[in-house]
Amino acid sequence: MNAERPVVLPRTTEDAASVLRDAADRGLTVVPRGAGLGWASRDADLIVDTRELGQVMEHAAGDLVAKVQAGATMGHVAQVLAEAGQRLALDVPPDVTVGGMIATGLAGPLRFRYGSPRDLLIGITVVRPDGTIAHSGGKVVKNVAGYDLGKLYTGSRGTLGLITEATFRLHPLPQAVAYLIADGLGRAAAVETVIAAANSPLQPSAVELSADSAGVLLEGTTDGVAERARQLAGQLGGMAVSDVPPPWWGRLPEPPGTVIRVTFWLARLAQVLDIVASSGTECTVTGPAGAGMLYLCTNTDARELISVLRAAVAGRGSVSVLTDPWTPADPLMRAVRDQFDPTGRFAHAG
């Protein structure tokens, strides 16, 4: 992100709206920014920083719902919710802001069981590029009134305007957890472990892969978790059981380097790993493999690897270079973007 550009830090949705109306009048290009952790840097006339929008606005513990401002960090949100024994089941790094998480569709290992932000987001407030404030959803878990703008803003990477507030469905914090870890696995064994765990009725919360290690998270009641860990360890074989995560658990790739996200149908896990291994590209491989997703990070030229992977998962997955700025290419996405931001001022990739 370009440091010399003017930065505004709105404190409320209305503040943000007046800033964006003004920017629209002047035809300024704008980039929304959360914690500034994004991998893809973009330039703009104006940076709207959400860090002053950092409050947990409402935690209705009895309803398992919380409304937060977009600049709140997930670490802060987790702390507030934990006081009532609850959590937002999106275990991203604690510095990530709520808005940044939604805009990038980021999720952690719990993605396997709970999905991504789109699955837990039940209401959203945004400011459109022209400065119009809009809401959709609400603060009830079950609601089918109107189009769900939250879905649209998930993965929008700043191109549809600024997310200012979000309401989420919460879950109780588990009484107990167990991590089942196997290290030094060959490729075939890793694939076998991940697929067996992902399809187990013992209901794992996460199924992760990191280099030659595989890990499974079980959550639940104290007795239940102990028994399930015993059963699953027996079924999978060679797993060590621990109540603390291994150091690599949920760690996102760390640039410098090219970060590539590959998504795929689980049946193609072996194929994806084989392609990476045989490509000769030196790269780290981590992520929620059981959920059909891996992050690759490399310091060498990855273009060949990317094109081979794209061909392999075509129609049944995706390959995204997360260190490159994103701009909508699909005709329907472009049509949506053109409705919200006809002149393409927001988070322009160019």
Partner: protein, 507 residues
């Protein structure tokens, strides 16, 4: 001529012009029949007025409108061709699945084509390792679970009409079901959609993984009530059948006692698969209809279902039982084999139909409130019911605050009062920060309530999506939004123009 008379004349002329236009529109849609027959086969096009009447309403029978023509395409490509014909001529079209919707979402247009998807009912692919199935939109909800049962898998969303309702309709409505408290709605279980855009192009949203680059168009499309295009293939998630399922029935003197049990279960950190409640009147109806043998004299019956790994269900069961007792349950029954569980569920599942036993007519309402507001909301509904002299039977998904008050009435003289009470219930839901619909959709039935829940900017913003997908406003028009937004020309038209049908020239 006086000014009034002038206005009168102008109005009459306008009405005549409108009538002529409507007549022309009707004819134009009907004239499409030969073209539709060429695309889909004459046997799959319906023009006979009597046969068309079959399609005059969906599950909401209070709204009726007979389509100009009905077509039943057999493939995605045929569907796309049908839509292209409509788009080229500016004729509105409406997609329909099994017609079980409860908000008139599939209500036909008299000047339009009704595209019925029920012939497309093939399960195309089952991938047990990836736990995905690819199905056509006319496949029924329950058919998916039946097809994958031998693999130890099932499809989680379970709307009460699951024996007949179609997956395509489920996508349009983002259908829920009794077990969505834990397992989520249709939108949580659909990972890819092949659609026909309102211009008649076949395209894919999502890729089946659940994560695609950019906007979550699968999510935005799901629940858009057929206004953004027509689904021709659906990729659904399958999940392992739970090791154990345990159903508990607890009887209480009042719904507020039952409500206390629900709050305590949630506070204890237990997330059951389902938490349902019925009040005295709905218990009475169910008893009359199916002899469900619920505890005699109960003022409320609570049904809690736990599912998951056996070790967890055992632990949770002890907690839930203790909580139900502490809340003052007069009787508790528990079952873990399918037959006994079905006995417990029988009364609840029959409730809507059963109300027919105690009232000649009734309105099924669908509203949502934050769960903790349920006692206050039920009390207020009881007050209004008493004031209006209209009985209300309450059946609700207590776990997620989704109410289905059944507003009972007898004859046309009570109908208006029942309608009014039913509307007032939605106002109560909104007063408590809730929603006007939890699972039945807005359709034609509730579009007039949308401005109570959302402001003009919210509705305008939602319709930007509509403008992106359907700028000509031909795809299921008149649903969800009380006032359609005009879609202005936008710079850079990225949509391809639909190809012209053969024989059409541009002058």
């Amino acid at each position: 001529m006086t000014e009034t008379a002038l206005t009168q004349a102008a109005l009459t002329e306008a009405a005549l012009t409108e009538a002529a236009l409507t007549e022309a529109a009707l004819t134009e849609a009907a004239l499409l029949a030969p073209e539709l027959a060429r695309i889909c086969g004459a046997a799959n096009v319906i023009t006979d007025p009597l046969d068309l009447r079959t399609y005059e309403c969906d599950g909401l029978t209070s709204h009726r409108s007979t389509p100009a023509v009905v077509v039943l395409p057999g493939t995605a490509e045929e569907t796309a061709q049908v839509v292209r014909e409509c788009a080229a001529r500016g004729i509105p079209f409406v997609a329909r699945g099994s017609g079980t919707g409860l908000s008139g979402g599939a209500l036909a247009r008299e000047d339009g084509v009704l595209i019925v998807m029920s012939r497309m009912r093939t399960i195309l692919e089952i991938d047990p390792v990836s736990r995905r199935a690819v199905v056509e939109p006319g496949v029924t909800n329950l058919a998916i679970s039946k097809a994958v049962q031998h693999l130890g898998l099932f499809y989680a969303p379970d709307p009460s009409s699951q024996v007949v309702c179609s997956v395509g309709g489920n996508v349009a409505e983002n259908s829920g079901g009794a077990h969505c408290l834990k397992h989520g709605f249709t939108v949580h279980h659909v990972t890819g959609l092949e659609i026909v855009t309102p211009q008649g192009e076949l395209t894919w949203l999502g890729n089946g993984t659940g994560t695609a680059e950019g906007y979550d168009l699968v999510g935005a499309f799901t629940g858009s009530e057929g206004t953004l295009g027509i689904v021709t293939k659906v990729i659904v998630k399958l999940i392992p059948i739970p090791e154990q399922i345990h159903t508990i029935l607890a009887a209480y003197e009042t719904t507020s006692e039952g409500g206390r049990a629900v709050s305590d279960i949630i506070a204890a950190g237990v997330l059951p698969a389902a938490i349902e409640m019925m009040d005295a009147l709905s218990i009475e109806a169910a008893e009359a209809a199916v002899h469900c043998d619920y505890p005699a004299g109960a003022g409320a019956v609570l049904i809690v279902e736990l599912d998951g790994p056996a070790a967890e269900v055992e632990a949770e069961l002890a907690t839930v039982r203790a909580i139900c007792e502490q809340a003052g349950a007069g009787e508790i029954r528990a079952a873990d084999d399918p037959e006994q569980r079905a006995v417990i569920w029988a009364g609840r599942k029959s409730a809507f139909a059963a109300v027919g036993r105690i009232s000649p007519e009734f309105i099924v309402q669908d509203g949502v409130v934050p769960r903790t507001s349920l006692p206050a909301v039920l009390a207020r509904i009881a007050e209004l019911s008493e004031q209006a002299g209209i009985r209300v039977a309450n059946v609700f998904h207590a776990g997620d605050g989704n109410l289905h008050p059944l507003v009972l009435f007898d004859g046309p003289e009570q109908e208006a009062a029942a309608e009014e009470l039913s509307g007032a219930i939605l106002d109560i839901c909104l007063d408590h920060g809730g929603s006007i619909t939890g699972e039945h959709g807005v359709g034609v039935d509730k579009s007039r309530y949308m401005p109570k829940m959302f402001n003009a900017d919210d509705l305008d913003t939602m319709q930007l999506i509509r403008c992106a997908f359907d700028p000509a406003h031909l795809c299921n028009p008149g649903k969800i939004f009380p006032t359609p937004r005009l879609c202005g020309e936008v710079p850079g038209n990225h949509r391809k123009r639909p190809p012209l049908p053969p024989g059409v020239e541009i002058f």
